[in-house]
Symmetry: C2
Subunit: 413 residues, 2 copies
């Protein structure tokens, strides 16, 4: 009976939440948008119907509490986020929230309370493409968001985080002055967003660490505009050729670091030499770009940052261009809770499964909770067709299996 | 007295024409726009005031005729264009039209008719950034524009050349069915758009050839969208890294060809990985680009085209991406008239000057006239700060000197 309930909950909520989106392709629910708020309301209504106690905080994170047998022990918060990247997929964030609701449903319908309070948690603003700040919702919940960060501007509207938060019913001043939730435990279900589980044919895995990131989100190269037929090679200061030099150099460094056995990913996600001023018959005098360097090792991030600046100095000399890197933003690599990981692994083994322990390439709210001293863990779900795109795909049966393992993990204790 | 008249004409017309532009920076008069038409009207009114016979053709090219002593000999058409690239400079095209008017003024005011009819010629739509067709106005005048080309769409409006031409008062059907002007002689004054004359400290030069171009204006690379943290290096199909590989490979080929002593320029003027779908946290699944390959030697253009396709095949295999090059467009390298060049050089020498003979890197209407069997020549004017940009600069004194040389060349004959 529990299986059927879990499946019904997963199917119903997936459909309900993904019916809320800006026009496609894919799914778009910006951080602190009315669309994100509407998707939170779906969970609030479902949780109330299930008999959970629904509350919010000043940042509009949502908590739906199911009382445990020991009401004084630190609660187990279970959840993820409902905002998406522009034209994102159906599962990034959503699968974890839906899974948390399915877990709460399983406890309620089984008639057996969890050992501690179980709090279905829907975090705001996880996707940092909207505001250049990492983990906005979870760090707000933890009393760790700064006044300066509250002034960050949303990339599409140009309006501040404080403004958008207030518009959706939040209280930015209260967020800044809050001391945050008392340390407890956090569990996040999330699609892997990479091919490891799918390639290995495994439904889910236990995550023991989250990569950090070092980014220059608004870098540019200033060259000299010229006529593509009239400017000789030696006199050109071509911004696009300079960027190509940089990308190839960073690619080479990436290969070297991987060969040495370290963890690293390098991405130039946005390259813009496509303004009204650019034309096929002009040597480009400007190109805008961003770079995202991720690793589980801060020293590797620092090393790549040094290579980045060394290559820039070399290319500036060789090409007669000027780089303006803009502000650097960072998130730190984070270890997750081995104890919580072991609890879940043991339950899986008891059910005849052997989940692997793995690293998260992407950043997640679970890292923010861990950095605040919580016991925090993630369960990754197999997915395919990549992530952050409309074709992102997973099998709901994998989510259902993971929820059953979590139910087993906390039912037996 | 002639000097003062030439200077007055140059100063007045430069200011009048450049007062007509879309909002800056720089000057923007799109091909077959009302702004281009308004600038033609300035010349028509000035020419009529000077007593020239003003006519137009079905493509709205403008001809202002000053009768010569031998009215049966082939006329000398002198002119250039008044459309600009987006946010272009004050002199590209305009300087040549203004110079032609100054030359006609010098003949009229001197009281001595030119040896043959002198026709101030204002050509439409020379800047092929607006429509993906080369030399629209001059090839229309010559009866060489095709019905298919008439359906090309303007890049900013998406509407056809026929539509825009009709809107400005032209007759596309008449253009297509016209047999064109009878072969005569064409002379174009134009800024160099490169640093050669400026570096050498020379006011003007005689052009004996025009580079051809081979272009893919709407190429793209299709990769696979993925999460920048979750997708391992080996599983990525990153469109931006693939483009960087291509640019660096084409740059290397360019260097090799120059070392061998051939003429070549390679430009990627527009690179677009900046849509709403692109984000710093996403491996880019698509990038759009254009490539412009120019040379005075068709064999070199062909060789670069082969390298381009060979590199694409190599990168597609290495990166797991797919290139879609789109349509190729071309203009042929063209020899200009040695006789007309010699006439001008002789006049310059008589005035104590020693202009060099040089190649044009950019394409110009003079090439279209030469390809149609006309005696066609260009005079390049020293300019600096490159071209096709708002800072494009030249010294009006250089234009005045060149006009005096031309007046001398045809006064004495």
């Amino acid at each position: 009976m529990t299986d059927t309930l879990i499946k019904e909950t997963v199917d119903r909520l997936m459909e309900k939440i993904n019916s809320i989106s800006a026009p496609g392709p894919g799914y778009t629910r910006p951080s602190y948008s009315t669309l994100e708020t509407d998707s939170h309301r779906v969970i609030a209504e479902e949780a109330e119907a299930l008999g959970l106690e629904v509350t919010g905080d000043a940042a509009m994170n949502l908590y739906a509490r199911l009382p445990g047998r020991d009401r004084k022990a630190p609660a187990l918060y279970v959840g993820s986020h409902l905002d998406t990247v522009p034209m994102g997929g159906a599962y990034d964030g959503t699968a974890g929230v839906v899974g948390a609701m399915a877990l709460a449903t399983a406890f309620v319908k089984s008639g057996k309370a969890p050992p501690t309070d179980l709090v279905v948690t829907v975090i705001r603003a996880e996707e940092s493409v909207w505001f250049p700040v990492s983990y906005i919702g979870s760090r707000s919940a933890l009393g760790r968001l700064t006044a300066a960060e509250m002034q960050a501007k949303r990339t599409d509207t140009g309006r501040t985080l404080a403004d958008h938060m207030r518009e959706q019913g939040g209280d930015p001043d209260a967020v800044i002055s809050s001391s945050g939730l008392a340390p407890a435990r956090f569990l996040e279900l999330h699609i892997e967003q990479g091919p490891v589980l799918d390639d290995a044919g495994e439904a889910f895995g236990i995550v023991d660490g989250v990569r950090g990131g070092l980014r220059y989100r608004d870098a540019r190269i200033e060259g000299v505009w010229a006529h593509s037929g009239g400017a000789p090679r030696v006199s050109r200061s071509d911004a696009v050729f300079a960027l190509a030099d940089l990308i190839v150099a960073m690619d080479k460094a990436w290969g070297t670091v991987l060969e040495e056995g370290h963890d690293l990913a390098v991405t130039f996600g946005r390259v813009d030499a496509a303004t009204a001023e650019h034309a096929f018959a002009k040597v480009p005098g400007r190109v805008d770009f961003c770079i995202d360097i991720r690793s589980d090792d801060t020293a590797i991030m620092e090393r790549l940052d040094r290579i980045f600046h060394d290559e820039i100095a070399r290319i500036e000399k060789a090409r007669g261009v000027r780089f303006v890197t803009g502000a650097q933003s960072r998130s730190q690599p984070t270890r997750l809770s081995p104890d919580l990981g072991q609890t879940i692994t043991a339950a899986a083994v008891a059910l005849g499964l052997k989940p692997r322990t793995m690293l998260s390439g992407g950043g997640h709210d679970a890292a923010a909770f861990a950095q605040a001293g919580w016991d925090s863990v993630m369960v990754f779900l197999r997915n395919w067709n990549g992530s952050h795109n409309p074709d992102e795909a997973m099998n709901p049966a994998d989510l259902i299996q993971a929820v059953k393992v979590l139910h087993h993990a906390w039912s037996k204790s």
